[in-house]
């Protein structure tokens, strides 16, 4: 049982319990939870992902607007397949939705992923995996707006930090999404939460064995691969506790990470 309470670091205010989280999520499989992977597409023919991807769409520019068509283009870069593989390994019954915005022709980089995010929010997928980011300042305001919309729609957006000297959006936004940086930890449930830091969550992201287009596997390192670990954990939580709001989920992650920290020490 995890007690999800008010954040203790705020002075000596009375600690308030928000809710109690039964441990049954640890044995969940992500059943009935929908997860969007906004990325380079997913190789749906990979044995690790057989039957896991329920639909795939691809961004296309039509008369200066972005539209999404059903896609059988798979994954030309490998990144989306890797992220999907990680989510699926942690939460094997999760329904994956591939939104291909990278490698799709004719789109500016930032515009493509903004459109993908807006599409995912419109579909009201439970969790959105965003292992992408931009440092272009012109996307700051529109991304903020989209993430507020996601929050209001109850979609939980998880974004990878870029781990570069410049801040990247949206991972530096703290209020309405969950941002993740890689750690050398290997157990997906033993993640960390660093309240007060710009990127709050740490999850496995070093030398992660992942499926790769064409049927093989790769060992990958990057914040991009820490992000789907947290997405997988959220899928487990949501299966057992489907009424959790984005705020609840963040609080729950914090409480679980605190338990992890106590156990590790």
């Amino acid at each position: 049982m995890t007690e999800v309470s008010g954040i203790e670091e705020f002075g000596n205010a009375t600690r308030m319990t928000y809710f109690q989280l039964a441990d049954d999520w640890r044995s969940a499989t992500g059943k009935d939870v929908s997860v969007a992977v906004i990325d380079s597409g997913i190789d749906t023919t990979h044995p690790d992902l057989a039957g896991k991807v329920v639909d795939s769409v691809e961004a296309r520019v039509d008369k200066k607007k972005v539209v999404f068509d059903p896609s059988d283009a798979g994954d030309s870069a490998g990144h989306g397949t890797a992220c999907a593989g990680i989510i699926s390994r942690i939460a094997p019954d999760t329904k994956l939705h591939s939104i291909k915005v990278l490698g799709a022709g004719g789109l500016g980089d930032g515009m493509a992923f903004l459109a993908g995010l807006e599409w995912a929010i419109k579909q009201r997928y439970h969790v959105i995996n965003l292992s992408l980011g931009t440092t272009k300042p012109q996307f700051f305001a529109p991304l903020h707006d989209l993430l507020d919309r996601a929050y209001q729609a109850g979609c939980i957006v998880v974004a990878a930090a870029n781990n570069l000297p410049q801040p990247s959006f949206p991972s530096v936004f703290s209020s309405s999404l969950i941002s993740v940086v890689k750690s050398a930890e290997t157990d997906p449930l033993n993640f960390g939460f660093h309240y007060g830091e710009i990127i709050e969550l740490t999850a496995p992201g070093v030398n992660i064995r992942t499926p790769w287009p064409g049927g093989g596997h790769r060992n990958l390192t990057g914040n991009s691969f820490a992000c789907p670990h947290i997405v997988g954990v959220i899928a487990l939580l949501l299966e057992k506790h489907p009424d959790l709001t984005p705020f609840h989920v963040k609080s729950a992650l914090y409480a679980i990470a605190k338990e992890n920290q106590n156990q590790n020490s």
Binding site: F68, L102, E118, S131, P165, G214, T221, G222
Partner: protein
Amino acid sequence: MSDSYESDLPAKLQRLIETIDIANVLTDPLTRSIEDLLRATAADIKSEEASVLIRDGDEGDLRFLSAIGKVAERLIDMRVPAGKGIAGFVLSSGQPMAVSNVEQDDAFYAEVDKATGYSTETILATPLRYEGEVIGVLEYINRSGDPPYEAFTPDEMDRAARFADAIASLVHAYESAKLFRDMSQMIIGGESEFDVSEVRDWLAGFRGGAEHKEMMDLAVIVREIAGRGEAERRMCREVLDAMLKYTDDKTETSFLSY
């Protein structure tokens, strides 16, 4: 004599300019500096093969600009299509990544290895950014010594990201110099496909356009205000910034068509 000297002068100047290798003067010091940086940074992260790929065209294709290592010469100017392979992904996503256990027998974009005969086993790729834009990709491939090679570490990824900033500035300078070089070559070299009169016509048409006249009028007004003093300049800037923000807010509503 003076008449003859003056009439010869343009021709002499042209010949003089033609003897200067503009390509070398403008871009070579920069490509050499990029190579030097590649060599120094590769040594720092225990690799001997490194390359810089730059964005080529508007579709997200990449082209090898610079490389060090065994197959460096074969890599230069080789292209990677948009979104292909690890470099293509790093360019379009802006996310650095390290990949090990890169086998040759599946869908990894292996065209570069096939063309060079080199075997990529472990790779670290990080975006090159200049003023928020991803302008290319910096890659380090394999390790010093013999295989099997250890995967690149998170600490090395962080270091590579910092190297990428320095290299990106040089790449940007190279691109600017190349633009100037190409234009100079076209004009001085008198290449047949380049007709100066066409440029003049285009410029005349541009200047004659109603929109251009309006923009010039606006520029004249701004210049006049700016000339009145510091306070006026600040006020003008604030008003224009507010207007820009207002028009941005009006247009940024949806990114989709429905």
